[in-house]
């Protein structure tokens, strides 16, 4: 008995030590990067070209000490928030709808196309042609159709989210084992829709969720791209600040985007792990 507890404690402490070492190395990498950044910034003239880490940190703090009024779309209501939060919210006004509508449509089409051979035959060539077009290329249509505001930016995000989620679902359904559909048939599943819901969807869930998680990141890139063209939000603030040569503020917004993405990614990974506990 005592031997067992001893080994248990031993492996736990070994694990702890290697973990700590890993964290320390990570911290070391971060500190080295900051040091190089700092030296480079101090040595660069004119000084506004590269802001120092400290200047950037101050600019970041300022995002939360000043406040800005933004307009909530649809209800057309003014809303005063700390500046950073305000512009992040503006981004989310088109990021979130674009991502979700794109994901739902992409997953929907991916599931049906992966399931129905006939629809697959019909659409496969079309998709081959449309798929390689980078989402940002659609910005010209976003501008002439919707204007470069929330709707236009949401449209670009939609395009990006659509394809990633489409391929996640399509690949997932194609990989459904015929053994499982056979088993379901012998257990009374006789309609395509039931088979899709009871077998194909849960079986494809890992790929669908991976697709969605990938689209969270890709859509952040796309949304910032769309905002560089003028849609309101953090991406617009990056270019706006740099136009005023306030590069430290640009860096602050870049860090803000990184943090927003990290939060969503970590949150979604948790959700994924819980849903896919069976794996």
């Amino acid at each position: 008995m005592s031997v067992q507890t001893d080994t248990g404690r031993n492996t736990a402490s070994v694990w702890y030590a290697s973990d700590l070492r890993r964290y320390l190395r990570g911290l070391g990498g971060l500190v080295t990067f900051l040091a190089i950044w700092w030296i480079g910034a101090v040595m660069t003239q004119p000084s506004y070209l590269v802001p120092t880490p400290i200047e950037s940190a101050w600019a970041f703090l300022e995002l939360f000490t000043s406040s800005t009024e933004i307009v909530v779309p649809i209800v057309d209501m003014g809303l005063v928030l700390p500046t950073g939060v305000a512009h992040l919210t503006e981004t989310l006004f088109h990021y979130v709808p674009g991502l979700f509508v794109g994901a739902v449509c992409g997953i929907g089409l991916g599931l049906t196309m992966g399931w129905s051979g006939r629809l697959d035959d019909w659409l496969r060539p079309l998709i081959r042609v449309l798929r390689p077009i980078p989402p940002l290329a659609w910005i010209v249509f976003a501008i002439v159709w919707f204007g470069i505001h929330h709707t236009g930016a949401a449209f670009i995000v939609f395009v990006g989210a659509f394809w990633i989620n489409f391929y996640g679902a399509y690949g997932g359904v194609e990989g459904v084992s015929s053994d499982l559909t056979d088993a379901a048939s012998t257990l009374g599943v006789d309609r395509d829709l039931s088979m899709l819901k009871l077998v194909a969807l849960p079986s494809a869930a890992p790929q669908i969720l991976t697709g969605f998680r990938t689209s969270i990141g890709r859509c952040w890139m796309i949304v910032v791209g769309a905002e560089l063209f003028g849609a309101p939000g953090v991406g617009y603030e990056i270019i706006n600040a740099s136009n005023n040569l306030a590069m430290d503020t640009s860096v602050a917004y870049m860090v803000l985007i990184s943090l927003a993405f990290l939060c969503m990614d970590v949150g979604f990974r948790r959700f994924e792990r819980r849903i896919l506990a069976w794996r």
């Binding site: 056979d182 379901a184 012998t186 257990l187 009374g188 006789d190 009871l198």
Partner: protein
């Protein structure tokens, strides 16, 4: 001792399952492969029938045809005199590689067939509990398949097929991937379960010992051509002792049949 090959047994009209002149072919690499050639045999109500033959003799195709998962090119399968046109709840199937739904727990897998509208069980929860008990998986109701051993997975497979109370149980080399000791135990348990129900079983295997241990009737299939070589009634009391002379005689007889193609 009835070591002579029995005739086709009961007539088709009284049989639970009647396989009539079933032939089936498939395309593989541009060539037509004859999977089944003019297969005929029947299984009586409550009979335990083993189909034995070497790998690649079309046993699985035959079983899938009875299940309604495949349509024969010619011939037909009758269940209670009615032709099979597709899968149905009257025929439960147990798969070689278990085919459990990995996202469902043991309970969820067994429950799968009970949740279909076609099934009218009044107390499904209780039925699932009984089945878990029947196949000896107490304490594993909430485990996912990934946490189970091969033998346990197949117990779930059997319970899932039994849940909807099918009249026929179709088993495709169900114990092919479990170790020998577990297989012996599963044989005993399967025969116990079969004895308490009035199901007809079609059990496909390439293991002659397994067939003689389990079957009332053995259908021997060959590869050249892929058809029924002979049908044999096993007249030994259960439980069967694999070392007894009677048992050994049956095994030798079948091995002889399989070793010598008819043509």
């Amino acid at each position: 001792m009835a070591l002579s090959d029995s005739p086709s047994g009961s007539s088709d009209s009284t049989a639970k399952i009647a396989v009539r002149n079933v032939s089936s072919a498939y395309e593989s690499g541009g060539e037509t492969v004859q999977a089944l050639l003019d297969i005929s045999f029947s299984v009586d109500d409550g009979e335990f029938c083993c189909v034995v033959g070497p790998s690649g003799c079309g046993k699985t195709t035959l079983l899938r045809t009875i299940a309604g998962l495949e349509t024969p090119d010619s011939g037909s399968v009758l269940v209670d005199g009615e032709p099979v046109t597709g899968p149905g709840l009257d025929r439960g199937m147990v798969f070689q590689e278990y085919a459990l739904f990995p996202w469902r727990t043991v309970r969820g897998n067994i429950r799968f067939g009970l949740d279909r509208p076609a099934c009218g069980c009044s107390d499904c929860e209780n039925r699932v509990r009984e089945l878990i008990d029947l196949v000896g998986l107490d304490g594993f109701a909430d485990s996912y398949p990934k946490a189970l051993s091969g033998g346990m997975k197949q117990r779930v497979g059997i319970a899932r097929a039994l849940a909807v109370d099918p009249e026929i149980l179709l088993m495709d080399e169900p114990f092919g991937s479990v170790d020998a000791r577990t297989r012996d135990r599963l044989h005993t348990e399967l025969l116990d379960i079969w004895a308490t129900t009035d199901q007809s079983v079609v059990f496909v295997t390439h293991d002659i010992d397994e067939a003689v241990t389990l079957a009332d009737k053995i259908v021997i299939m060959g590869t050249e051509p892929r058809t029924v070589q002979s049908t044999l009634t096993v007249d030994l009391p259960r439980p069967r002792d694999r070392t007894a002379t009677g048992f050994v005689d049956y095994v030798a007889h079948i091995r002889d049949k399989l070793g010598s193609p008819t043509e």
